[in-house]
């Protein structure tokens, strides 16, 4: 019996079972961070990742009935939001006294709406570690005052929603304990070696909420701290394959090179992949990454039209992207480029440019990925849809899965968007396989499973 249960609700996407083998699955590491801090403070915590465990309503009902937690925390994205509400309803059905807390990107910007559901007691906005610990002390031990819990939203005795001031961001990330991993069924994930080396993003892309969630400035863990975590994961868990989940892994080129040098000096012999922006890499950095075991780097490209990129505040020139991709290929990396459609000022001509760039990059050995634009809460896009001539045609967040058209633009209706998306996915089917060309480590990509 655990007094605190942290739950990752499953995605409601009908094909989640079918795509399990083809997509990269990683543990919900944010719950690992929350659990670490709570365990460090003496609480008995368990994590349930319903997605990877393939759990439905009945299974979670049975589990909660057995565990009888005093507090249940649910992590939500926009796609999993309604399932979080459904799980919370199950929690309350079993015991009205159990405290329910929602956190994560979606409710950070929609706390008031979430609190209109009777099964939700609290919402934590923004970075959750300190807030959840303070809330747990208050809710389970009566310690402190609810109005002093940073980033907390709740309904007061007058039935008014109260939003406490946001908790300040954790500036010194090394102060956090490493995320708890033993509570995840690591053998079930295709990429269990997820690791985060920094938080925040200085980009101002109109479609992204990262700035609003984790701040507009990069905050990095020290190289030593990250290396120490890798050492633990290699020696205790036997990991050989790592996935650096930072929004922009190479945000600070000097730090990236220092990290790569430290990794190369170690005896870990790991392979890894990361995501980044094309304007934050140069040859020396990419070479250092390859030398340290990096195999795949993903660039967020979004569009093949400079006019569109400028409009969405991507801050990248296509000429620089071409150069970054070419350099990545030259040094022996397998680049992946991700695109989004439709953007507010996309038209048939810009879509043609995007397809042309996709084909051009693909012909050089680059892999492609494409997703439908989704106006997530907290993004500039979501707050200015009408100004952009865009209209939501589906407000059921169960369908916000990057494949279902949920909006129209001034140029494209949902039928057009389906057609463009279909054609681009077909193009992606011709992707080259990840390059296994020998690098300095002379090893092929290995996963832990």
């Amino acid at each position: 019996m655990s007094e605190i249960l942290l739950i990752q609700p499953p995605t409601p996407t009908p094909n989640r079972v079918h795509t399990k083998d083809s997509t990269l699955s990683a543990p919900p590491i944010a719950l690992g961070y929350l659990a670490s801090l709570l365990i460090e403070s003496g609480y008995d915590v368990d994590i349930v990742d319903m997605e990877i465990l393939d759990m439905g309503g009945e299974e979670i009902f049975q589990l909660i009935a057995k565990e009888r937690p005093r507090l249940v925390g649910l992590s939500t994205t926009t796609l999993t939001y309604k399932n979080a509400l459904r799980v919370a309803a199950i929690v309350k059905e079993l015991n009205q006294e159990t405290v329910t807390v929602l956190g994560g990107p979606h409710v950070t910007f929609t706390a008031e709406e979430a609190l209109s559901y009777p099964q939700i007691d609290f919402v934590i906005r923004g970075e959750g570690e300190k807030s959840l610990l303070a809330l747990t002390r208050f809710a389970l031990e009566g310690y402190g005052n609810v109005t002093d819990v940073g980033g907390l939203s709740f309904t007061n005795t007058d039935s008014k929603v109260v939003h406490n001031p946001r908790q300040g961001f954790i500036c010194y990330l090394d102060s956090l304990p490493f995320p708890t991993r033993h509570l995840f069924p690591l053998h079930l994930y295709s990429a269990p070696g997820l690791i985060i080396t920094g938080r925040g993003c200085e980009g101002r892309c109109i479609f992204c909420a990262a700035r609003g969630i984790s701040g507009g400035r990069y905050r990095f863990r020290s190289v030593d701290n990250v290396i120490k975590e890798i050492e633990v994961m290699v020696s205790l868990l036997g990991f050989k394959f790592f996935f650096f989940g930072d929004d922009t892994f190479t945000a600070d080129a000097k730090r990236t090179r220092a990290f790569c040098q430290a990794l190369q000096k170690s005896d870990f012999k790991i392979n890894w992949i990361c995501e980044t922006r094309a304007d934050t890499v140069d040859r020396a950095t990419l070479q250092a990454m390859v030398d340290a075991g990096c195999k795949i780097v993903q660039f967020g490209v979004e569009s093949g039209s400079q006019k569109v990129l400028d409009m969405i505040n991507k801050g990248i020139k296509i000429a620089n992207l071409r150069k970054a991709v070419k350099t990545a290929l030259d040094v022996g990396l397998s680049p992946t480029c991700s695109f989004m459609i439709p953007h507010p000022n996309d038209n048939w001509e810009t879509i043609k440019e995007t397809k042309a760039l996709m084909k051009e990059l693909q012909s050089t050995g680059v892999r492609m990925a494409v997703a439908l634009t989704t106006p997530f809460p907290g993004t500039y896009l979501a707050n200015h849809l009408a100004d952009f001539g865009m209209k939501i045609v589906c407000d059921d967040t169960d369908k916000y899965n990057f494949s279902t058209p949920i909006l129209e633009t001034k140029t494209f209706d949902t039928w057009d968007i389906r057609e463009i998306y279909f054609d681009m996915v077909m193009l992606c089917l011709h992707n080259p396989k990840p390059s296994l060309r020998p690098t300095s480590q002379k090893s092929e990509i290995e996963t832990n499973n």
Partner: protein, 100 residues
Amino acid sequence: MQVLKNTPHRLSEIWKLDHETSTVVVLGPDGIVKLNQLGSAIWLRLDGEHTITSIIGELTIAYPSQEQVQIEKDVVEFINNLVVNNLVILRWNPLYKKVF
């Protein structure tokens, strides 16, 4: 029949309308699948909200020259085929377990 109360949902959202024939083209797990006109009309309604009964009802109105019994038989048979080919989940519930 119990089966008619099911709310089937497409397993692939990678599909489009063919402009010339106004029929649906789907990218399924085994490649491209081209549906005929009635199949396309059914596909558009496999959104996890329509029951099979309501799909039959709507198609009976859309195709008044066809007998309801025949439409019912065609719809059930077609959906079963889609299920067998991993293109549709028969009993969709957003908080579901692996049940087909």
